[in-house]
């Protein structure tokens, strides 16, 4: 598995990470080595194996999540004032909001 500089830049773009030149080259080499190690998984034939996302789904229906799905109703936790006060640029207006740079360009 060869990881090019372009691969690293593409992944950093997807992940919204600004990387330094030094990071670009170390991460390239390290991802290559870790992914090569991960190719060990190809030793196993998994053609007839179902993927496992998490263990709860494999449990008895009584313990499975769906019956716990609650009504999608909002409730006031009473903490909005505290949240905006601690935010980098929170504005305690009615309703409260967070100020961000303009988004029209992208």
């Amino acid at each position: 598995m060869k990881i090019t500089r372009e691969d690293v830049l593409r992944v950093a773009e997807l992940a919204n990470l600004e990387l330094t030149e030094a990071e670009l080259s170390t991460y390239g080499a390290q991802l290559e080595s870790i992914l090569s190690y991960c190719e060990k998984l190809n030793e196993l034939d998994t053609a007839n194996v179902e993927p496992l996302a998490q263990v709860l789904e494999a449990r008895a229906p009584a313990e499975a999540a769906p019956q716990h799905l609650r009504e999608d109703a909002s409730r006031d936790a009473g903490i909005i004032g505290e949240v905006v006060r601690r935010a980098p640029e929170g504005v305690a207006a009615q309703p409260a909001y967070f100020r961000v740079p303009k988004v029209i360009d992208r």
Binding site: V11, I34, L35, L44, P51, L52, A53, V83, V100, P101
Partner: protein, 488 residues
């Protein structure tokens, strides 16, 4: 080594039961006990770096409320007056919570995680927040943005990770119990390296509401304590269904502490050869084998069990955990909490904030996870890993048809030197080789001390049980601890 602090006799002696007795008989007040622990933290923490933030205001308020309730007639709550340390990935109302990261510096959560709320209601006293690898990503605590924790048994060595601060705080007598989190070994491995019992509950056993998520299909919250009995007493408080966490299981919570003394004679223990293969330190192997011999003396029956997919667990874990982390950590973008680095556009603000706020290992894992999920690679890496995860889980399912519990080393090596493994991420990942399997299978496990190597370095015995069999795991751990016969 000579510089290592020795836990004062008083601190090492406190347990949940002895604190309750001392409070009830008015030998000490909760306030005096709390003061005693803060004094010790002030003295020892500069060397250990186990605590990142202290919460004396809340602790003394909790202590005073409890002292007012000690009338001699009403029963005290189950964790009355117990000095408790909380890993910094757990949201605590009004106490700075950074997850060991620069990106959350100055974040004061407006609410308590459910596990913390339950401890609060049970009468525990919150001393403060413990150091950890950034966002719980690491096996040595060296990935904390606030400096590494030093192992109390040898200050030149790591305490393990990622819950290194919680393990070190309990081992050094700076707290009686602590909460940590375990995604690939982050409770059990530092428990082993610091020499204290440490439990990873079954997936879904303890609510994760208020936990800063790392890998949601793996993350657990669990306790450290000086004794297995105290681990059991914390477990019975924090376990159980929580409407605020849809992944918490609706499964009855037994009294773990009441079941500890049920005899273990006749218990069937599986010993997987795959956990005693190349890479296991010979001195660690010897201690673990001696521990297994001790369990046989207690009447347990050992059987070899085959767990043929063990060697694939590290690549599966690092693909699954990083993929989930890349998604979970998207929320740290400078908008709502923590650090913001200004940018001309929203996108530039995100990139600069995340570039400056995350440390090297967190960025590496976000990159790896993003790559594994990205178009063209999803099937080859992430989906493949999820399929092999099924095979790893079926190793456990098959083994538990033959045996009651599985016994292995917790870590292939004792505490290593600070800086020894930081240059090679892959070498560090291999430190988790015996713990990631149980994480992927969703089962429960504990690490209990089983002696020391090189005179000072603790070794941990890992006992793994099927889903929701914490009681069985604790029972064997307690029988082993009570039997003694190994150097503590």
């Amino acid at each position: 080594m000579s510089a290592a602090p020795t836990p004062p006799a008083g601190s090492a002696g406190w347990t949940i039961a002895s604190i309750r007795h001392a409070l009830e008989s008015r030998k000490i007040s909760a306030r005096e006990l709390t003061r005693e622990f803060f004094t010790r933290i002030e003295r020892e923490n500069p060397r250990l770096n186990a605590f990142l933030a202290l919460s004396p205001e809340r602790a003394f308020a909790q202590a005073d409320a409890l002292d007012a309730k000690i009338t001699g007639t009403e029963p005290l709550p189950p964790l009355a007056g117990v000095p408790t340390a909380l890993k910094d990935v757990l949201n605590t109302r009004g106490t700075e919570t950074t997850a060991g990261s620069r990106i959350l510096k100055g974040y004061f959560p407006p609410y308590d995680a459910t596990a913390i709320d339950r401890l609060d209601r049970a009468g525990a006293i919150f001393l403060g927040k413990t150091n950890c690898d950034e966002f719980a990503m690491g096996s040595s605590n060296e990935n904390s943005a606030y400096g590494p924790v030093h192992n109390p048994v040898d200050l030149d060595r790591v305490p393990g990770g990622s819950s290194g601060g919680s393990a070190a705080a309990v081992a050094a007598g700076l707290a009686v119990v602590a909460l940590g989190t375990d995604t690939g070994g982050s409770i059990r491995q530092p428990g082993a390296l610091c020499g204290v019992p440490a439990m990873m509950p079954t997936y879904g056993r303890v609510s994760r509401y208020g936990l800063i998520a790392f890998a949601s299909s793996l993350d657990r919250i669990g306790p450290f304590a000086r004794t297995v009995e105290d681990v059991a007493r914390v477990m019975e408080v924090i376990a159980g269904r929580d409407p605020l966490d849809a992944t918490s299981a609706d499964h009855p919570v037994p009294s773990y502490s009441a079941g500890l003394d049920v005899p273990v004679k006749g218990m069937r223990l599986g010993i997987p050869a795959e956990y005693f293969a190349e890479g296991l330190d010979p001195a660690v192997r010897q201690k673990v084998e001696a521990a297994i011999a001790r369990l046989k003396e207690l009447g347990c029956v050992t059987t070899p069990v085959a767990m043929p997919h063990t060697a694939y667990a590290i690549p599966v874990y690092y693909l699954v955990a990083t993929a989930e982390a890349s998604s979970n950590l998207a929320r740290f973008d400078g908008v709502r909490y923590g650090l913001r680095v200004p940018g001309a556009t929203l996108s530039e603000m995100y990139r600069k904030t995340r570039g400056a706020g995350f440390g090297a290992e967190v960025k590496r894992r976000i990159m790896l996870g993003t790559y594994a999920l990205s178009a063209g690679y999803y099937d080859a890496y992430y989906l493949k890993a999820q399929k092999v995860r099924t095979l790893i889980k079926s190793d456990f399912d098959r083994a538990f048809q033959q045996v009651d519990l599985i016994v292995t080393p917790t870590s292939p090596v004792p505490a290593f030197k600070l800086g020894e493994r930081t240059a090679d991420p892959l070498a560090m990942y291999l430190a988790d080789i015996y713990t990631v399997t149980g994480s992927l299978a969703g089962v429960t496990g504990i690490s209990v001390p089983c002696g020391k190597v090189s005179g000072t370095l603790p070794v941990g015995l890992q006992i793994i049980g099927p889903h929701f069999e914490e009681g069985r795991v604790l029972r064997l751990a307690h029988a082993f601890e009570s039997a003694g016969g190994f150097e503590m």
